[in-house]
Amino acid sequence: MSLAFANPRRFLTFARVAIPWVAVLGVVLTSIGFYSAFAFAPADYQQGETVRIMYIHVPAAWLSMACYGLMAISSIGTLVWRHPLADVSAKAIAPIGAAFTFLCLITGSLWGRPMWGTWWVWDARLTSVLVLFLIYCGILALWNAYEDPARAGRAAAVMTLVGAINLPIVKFSVDWWNTLHQPASVFRMGGPTIDRSMLWPLLYVAIGLTLLMLALHLAAMRNEILRRRVRTLGLIAASTESRGPSA
């Protein structure tokens, strides 16, 4: 499957067809999820209406880690299989993952202030997510530090795989340490503890935003392929000019 799209032209054809369908399906599912979250899901018996921040905070948190996971798999593709689109995929997903992590931090802070009485605490979950955001920023900086995309791709892939150690720390931080942040209530042994009336809207938003993330990823990959074509043609134009008009 991955080899079928090793040819960028074939990938561009696939992306042109897939992006609108995936994006529209993502918007529809996200809209259903948000509508259910505000129209049907009840307020929490302790948190009241503030629990509605969960419907954006939790999917953003899941996607911040999913994007990093995708980036780590792409990095293995760059270093081990040298797949021609692996580093394109890794570069394209980095800003999207950083955006979801930023959103997770901000909405978490806005949820924490009324519920915990503070915008921020240095507990293991919050700190490890902040570290995840800083790793994303570092990877984005690394991509821009090299002129040659192939060299940048290898350096970013190494950094991504080193940083992947933070993913299990983020996930299990609430189990390994005593944190103000609550433990997992959806993806846990023994099943979700959250009531169905809240779980379904949450899952709709999460699946919808996942599809939107995939559509944005495909679109960003398409941009990166075009950027590299521009770079190649720019180098050809520059070398032709340097040889002079008679060459």
């Binding site: 505000f38 959103l103 806005l110 960003a220 190649t232 043609l233 050809i236 134009a237």
Partner: protein, 56 residues
């Protein structure tokens, strides 16, 4: 819900989320148009790759 004492926090969370999504989508769409226009200008000026194969 508007009467809730924490309504401002809920509104702020969703407004910031909307801003992040609009920003991300606008950046990707603008970048696509920019790359496509630059590519078309280069091809119109007669610059061609040596082979028809896709070179990244």
């Amino acid at each position: 819900m508007i009467d809730d004492p924490h309504f401002g926090f809920i509104l702020a969370a969703y407004l910031i989320a909307a801003l992040v999504f609009v920003g991300l989508i606008s950046w990707i769409v603008t970048d696509y148009r920019l790359q496509k226009r630059t590519l078309e200008q280069l091809e119109a000026s007669g610059v061609r790759r040596r082979s028809d194969s896709e070179v990244l």
